[in-house]
Symmetry: C2
Subunit: 219 residues, 2 copies
């Protein structure tokens, strides 16, 4: 163990949460992270929503019926769950816990309520990152979309965005997305640094024990 390189030391995975108001670039950042970083995987949710064409069970979602979902909640098998437009969505605990122990990082694309639930259950495993748009004008431009929606629809989107933004202070890191490349680089920097946290580097116990051996000749 003592001669292993640092990046090979065993480590515990982390739960990387990305939240943002709609239109702040979260989906782009999440996709790029999954494409470019081999150590992080999307957390696969359990849902009662029926599969859409092309969706694969166990990859996009774990599709279950209402009775099974209720049983999982009842038996404490969910780390967090919520109802959205009449369907239930949840994060299954067993898979995440086994993954973290094996050094797998998980990406979560969830809102502030899901973030709060995950944090309450998994505190030190969670890293919470919030993305913000660069300005109110930019936010409005993005939410106006192609200009075919009514003012009422747009005001509804603005209102939801404002409400999401109001939870910025429940996050560990906040990144303003002026430029998508710069924003992505910042998110990666946060992820890379958090992996170096002493508390996640489970291999350090053996490694430092090796460094402190009295008789290096026997190494």
């Amino acid at each position: 163990m003592a001669d292993q390189h640092s990046h090979n030391l065993a480590r515990r995975g982390l739960m990387f949460i990305l939240s943002s108001p709609s239109g702040a670039g979260k989906t782009t950042v999440a996709r790029r992270l999954l494409a470019e970083d081999g150590e992080i995987a999307m957390s696969v949710s359990v849902t009662t929503r029926p599969p859409r064409p092309g969706e694969v069970d166990g990859k996009d979602y774990h599709f279950v019926d209402r009775a099974e979902f209720a049983r999982m909640v009842e038996d404490g098998e969910m780390l967090e769950w919520a109802e959205v437009f009449g369907n239930n969505y949840g994060t299954p605990k067993a898979h995440i816990k086994a993954g973290l122990k094996a050094g797998q990082d998980f990406l979560f694309d969830i809102d502030w309520q899901g973030t709060q639930q995950l944090y309450q259950r998994m505190e030190t495993d969670v890293v919470r990152v919030f993305l913000l748009p660069p300005s109110i004008d930019e936010l409005e431009d993005r939410l106006r979309g192609r200009g075919t929606d009514s003012e009422q629809v747009i005001e509804g989107r603005m209102s939801r965005a404002r409400s999401e933004i109001s939870h910025w202070d429940g996050y560990d890191f906040v990144v303003v997305n002026d430029d998508i490349d710069e924003c992505f680089a910042k998110v990666r920097t946060i992820l890379d640094a958090e992996r170096m946290r002493r508390a996640r580097q489970t291999g350090l116990v053996d490694f430092t024990r090796g460094l402190m051996r009295q008789d290096p000749g026997s190494a």
Copy 2:
């Protein structure tokens, strides 16, 4: 404020602590950080040790006599202090506190005891990084130096190094120095990420208030 770029948002500085056993590359990393990063400065200690040739008061150290040092400790003007080989060294509080408020980061090259003292006083402002040598053989090679020292002297150094290493778990981040460039890059990643912590980004209060304004037309 609302249209400012993220890297221009006001932020509180941080206290970046680098510790390591002798020979693990701390001095090299510290010098490079100071040379390449314009936002971090070395913390200037107060000492009772007489100036050495070329040392500048207020730059290398603040040189004071024993009475003045004792007064500063007495009046609570030191964040931490220690006696080394009969001389006193301390970190003056007022300068650091004013700097942090203005967004200045400070670098500290101190041992685990100084780290503990700083952490107890300044908790959330402190980021603690520990560097480790890649192996026990490498550590011994480095401590043997040019091979002119007696086994007894070398064993003394090994013993001090082991003792310093035993405190690795009192740090937030641990980096193994296999390669000085890689090690330096990792230390910078940690510093860059920590600067993005929500709690240090004091400008976010105004920035998010701007984003949540009801009437963007008046922006």
